[in-house]
Amino acid sequence: MAFNSADIGAFKNVWVFCEQRQGVMMPTTFELISEGRKLANELGVELCGILLGDNVDGIAPELGKYGADKVYVYNSPLLKDYTTDGYTKVIVEAVEEIKPEILLFGASNIGRDLAPRCAARLHTGLCADCTHLDIDMPNYKGFLTEASTLPAERIEKLGTVMINREPHSVERDLKMTRPAFGGHLMASIICPRFRPAMATVRPGVMKKRECPKTAEIIHPAFNLTAEDIGTEVVETVKAAKKLVDLIGADFIVSVGRGISKDVEKGIELGQALADELGGVLGSSRACVDAGWITADHQVGQTGKTVHPKVYVALGISGAIQHKAGMQESECIIAVNKNENAPIFEVADYGIVGDLFKVVPELIESIRAAKAAK
């Protein structure tokens, strides 16, 4: 029988696309497995990984550690390098055959290339760059109570929506929440009429949690030939310079436009404070756009979402995109000459002053405070 994405009752289980590069699992994959485990528990179904590559069986069992019940592994020399066409064909045919109800991807440059292509071919809905996922309605309402300014009575009433003039209960739908309009608005999206409900999930947002299981490794038969792939990967190059790991950092010191007076000195001071704290140097988009610092340092909407223990913003005014990328930090310290800078709205501690003067003193103070312990 032909595949029908609207035959909702035929779909079951939660799937996670397990992205690997050069045979190494991307860290986001484990975050997604943990999140997928939560969703599968709420639905009372299995969590399965789908892993594509060349000879990648060795990295499949680790998915069990975070709660995968099964891993469908597809090995082929044609899947060694990521290609849109090759990966789309294998994933779409697997979905058509096994019919998962939910399919999650990391919102990496590869996930965001692959997921829309799969969703279009499967004729189903895809929500981009999600930062929160729910099935369970009480949990979802609890999340809205915490994370939104919606009145309690409106949150309480949620549960049934009109879809093409018919009432539809969203009890078992995946509620996919994401920022829109540069983080000014949040929206919860559902995919009520088609399966699988698909989402790409922003890296660094979901928490990795161990949930040891022995994942069953399955090798389904599949069909892929060189003719199926319309592009040729000439080479894959890893950046020579070690990129800054903002997502994993406990301490981040970011610099913004405020360093413009003396860019070199400003970056040096930011780095020195980061070193003193044992952290890494971040930046606002303005510094990247001006060419002062490389893009791997950028925090914010089009950069990265971070939640370190301490985030220090030096000379950053706090554009909404930047705030969206760092406001979940446990402790935010802002130094800015302008007392009206929006960054102070999210700061736990604010100092109005010239960063070129404040930072050297702050480094000294921190050194002294550590020594006194």
Binding site: D81, T84, S108, N109, R112, D113, A115, P116, R117, A119, A120, R121, T124, G125, L126, D129, L144, S148, T149, L150, L158, V161, I163, D173, K175, A180, F181, H184, L185, M186, A187, S188, I189, C191, G230, E232, V233, V234, T236, V237, L277, I320, Q321, Q327, C331, I333, E339, E345, V346, Y349, G350, I351, V352, G353, D354, V358, L362, S365, I366, A372
Partner: protein
């Protein structure tokens, strides 16, 4: 050979954004701009035009005022504009939008040596989905996140940027490439170009134009044809006010360091 660039008029979200009491965006009070990544796609098209002398056509879907954006692009050097506009197309999600734009491009006609360029993503939705979904519906190969594009005959070599490096990818025309800001520096419109802009052709495609295309069906376009629906939209709460430390001297930094030490943060 021709180059089709898909563009979108978006509210400028970089400045102050106005939100209605019901949690939707107050678009009326906001400036509209050409989506920034789309400007890089337009520039890439114009550079290929400068080199090869091919025609560049800008495609957009939106309300009739989007014509103004197309005229601006014509002033920069785009040869022709196509505006896809109809009440039936309103409320479309990325799936339905790509369905309609793909139908429009297909209706216009794709030749074997054509290239379709798009911006990576639009700043209103930040989905990055419409480009790949247009490619899927036109059965074209795609390369996203293009940081460099070189053309040699009917083969393009594209540097596809990854978070941890890049891939070099070869792809034959016709194909879809999505462009990022690292690709180039968009040009300004010229005074001479502004005069010419209004004499260049503008094609309007309505529901009537596209309704017989195989991609266009009531079940695949507009709100009713969109697989996704918005359950609710909301504004995040502002964080509670923090502590502003008085003065910018050494005693202030000492106080801050003291607090951090007391909280075992350092």
């Amino acid at each position: 050979m021709k180059i089709i660039v898909t563009v979108k008029q978006v509210p400028d979200t970089s400045g102050k954004v106005a939100v209605n009491p019901d949690g939707t965006l107050d678009r009326a009070s906001m400036q509209t701009i050409i989506n920034p990544d789309d400007m890089n796609a337009v520039e890439a098209a114009l550079q290929l035009k400068d080199e090869l002398g091919c025609k560049v056509i800008a495609f957009t879907m939106g309300p009739p005022p989007a014509e103004g954006m197309l005229r601006e692009l014509m002033a920069m050097g785009v040869d022709e504009g196509v505006l896809i506009t109809a009440r039936e197309f309103g409320g479309s999600d990325t799936f339905a939008t790509s369905q309609i734009i793909a139908a429009g491009i297909s209706h216009y006609g794709i030749d074997p040596d054509d290239i379709i360029l798009a911006g990576r993503q639009a700043i209103d939705g930040d989905t990055a989905q419409v480009g790949p979904q247009i490619a899927e519906k036109l059965h074209l190969p795609q390369v996203t996140y293009a940081g460099e594009i070189h053309k040699d005959g009917n083969e393009l070599t594209v540097k596809r940027i990854l978070e941890d490096g890049y891939m070099t990818i070869k792809v034959k025309t016709p194909c879809m490439i999505t462009c990022i800001k690292e690709l180039n520096q968009p040009r300004y419109l010229s005074v001479g170009g502004a005069f010419e802009a209004y004499s260049k052709p503008l094609v309007v495609m309505t529901y009537e134009t596209l309704k017989d295309h195989p991609l266009i069906d009531k079940s695949t376009i507009g709100l009713a044809g969109s697989p996704t629906n918005i359950l609710t939209s909301f504004t995040p709460p502002q964080k509670g006010a923090g502590m502003m430390l008085e003065g910018a001297g050494k005693e202030t930094t000492d106080k801050l360091a003291g607090i951090l030490a007391a909280k075992h943060i350092i």
